[in-house]
Amino acid sequence: MREINVKEAEARIYEACARIAHVYAPDILAALKKGCANEEEERSVTAMRMLLENAEIAESRQIPICQDTGLVTVYVHAGQEVHFTGGSLKEAIQNGVRRAYKDYYLRASVVDDPLFERINTKDNTPAVIYCDLVEGEDVVIEVTAKGFGSENMSALAMLKPAQGIEGVKEFVLDTIRKAGPNACPPMIVGVGIGGTFDYSAVLAKRALLRSIEERNPDARYAALEEELIEKANALRIGPMGLHGKTTVLGIQIETAPTHIAGLPVAVNICCHACRHERMVL
């Protein structure tokens, strides 16, 4: 049995929220630079240069990359040999988020009730928290803070098994096409295939946590990712939606077993500010 004080989780979440708001992950920044070099038309080059200049200003002057500093989602993978001490783990996570958003002047973007009064909670909580139990005595925490310009363009389809690979491709590309300029391209696209209605969406969001330089370990899905990336870029949505060549920086697929009658597909669109961090306690 290993004891971990929840204060440690709070401190790590606090640091992560601050860091991801201001600094691009290296894989995303490298892809933006590559995309910029690959653009030909003047407006698309201008758009990409603005994003790169923005990245520099954000990091050097500690101004958030984007004003939508996101709704925070936290994934806790807790080893079953761990005993948390010092209070509620979930409350510690919410405190980490609350303090980071206040101390670092990040935007409070959460409303308490989705439909009626929509009153801002003023501290960007509650974060969405997923917990699962794993073997061992490590605790892995993943944090993401996703903006809603792209979240709003995400979609889920319960395809028929007969629609197969072609159906999946069509749905993914159609969702990217509809997202178009609204989702702040170049985008990163998470695709969840299988599971249930809800779990396919969880998979799609989790796919965004993977480095865009890593392909799915299954060669068939890796090939599908490559094909979708090529086809998405052929849509010519491009940076800022100005018809350039860089529509997506990455497409990542995660899968799960599913029911004999189903083929759930979820597509979680993320803007270029794909903010996430993984930590081990």
Binding site: T46, L51, I57, Q67, Y105, G149, H243
Partner: protein, 182 residues
């Protein structure tokens, strides 16, 4: 690159073409979802808007809070289509320009043409860069809405493209885009 001073006269607006690169200077008002809802509610009640909408330019943005010593935080555009339901009414009241990102509805396009107005697009996700062209920020209304409050900004050389011009031409229209990738 064309330098544009806000507000623009009708000739200046009519001379802008979708796709053109511009640097905007002058006064803009921030307003997004909740502020629009409240403005329309005020109009429905026969009350005055908190700012003079005649010849105004609205920037769809909800900035991050300003750090001490800064004018504003990160301040890039938000998705304009969420304001589509409210926009034609404001255009018909004299609003002459908007800054945002993404596509607009047909009803908004028609109101843009009808009023010789302009929709500018800014670079989504470049909030730190755009903040450097904002030189002052004065609260105007709805401060309880935090990032969604109406704030009067003075901007200098704010980099944008003309998104929809006074003739209704749209920067996002591209016949290739509709057929490729199928």
């Amino acid at each position: 690159m064309k330098r544009i001073q806000l507000p623009m006269d009708k000739e200046t607006r009519d001379a802008l073409a979708a796709g053109e690169s511009v640097l905007l200077s002058g006064t803009v008002y921030t307003a997004r979802d909740a502020a629009h809802k409240r403005m329309i509610a005020l109009l429905d009640e026969g009350k005055e808007l908190p700012m003079d909408i005649q010849d105004a330019c609205i920037y769809y943005v909800g900035p991050t809070p300003a750090k001490p010593g800064e004018v504003i935080g990160s301040a890039g555009p938000t998705t304009a289509s969420r304001m589509d339901a409210y926009t034609p009414r404001l255009l018909d009241l004299g609003m002459q320009a908007m800054i945002g990102k993404g596509r607009r509805s047909e009803a908004v396009k028609e109101a843009i043409v009808r009023n010789h107005a302009v929709y500018f697009i800014a670079c989504g996700g470049a909030g730190a860069l755009i903040a450097s062209s904002i030189h002052s920020a004065e609260p105007v209304a709805f401060e309880d809405l935090l990032a969604e409050a109406i704030v009067r900004l003075e901007v200098k050389d704010f980099p944008c493209f003309v998104g929809i011009d006074t003739k209704g031409n749209d920067i996002y229209d591209d016949p290739d885009q509709c057929v490729s990738g199928r």
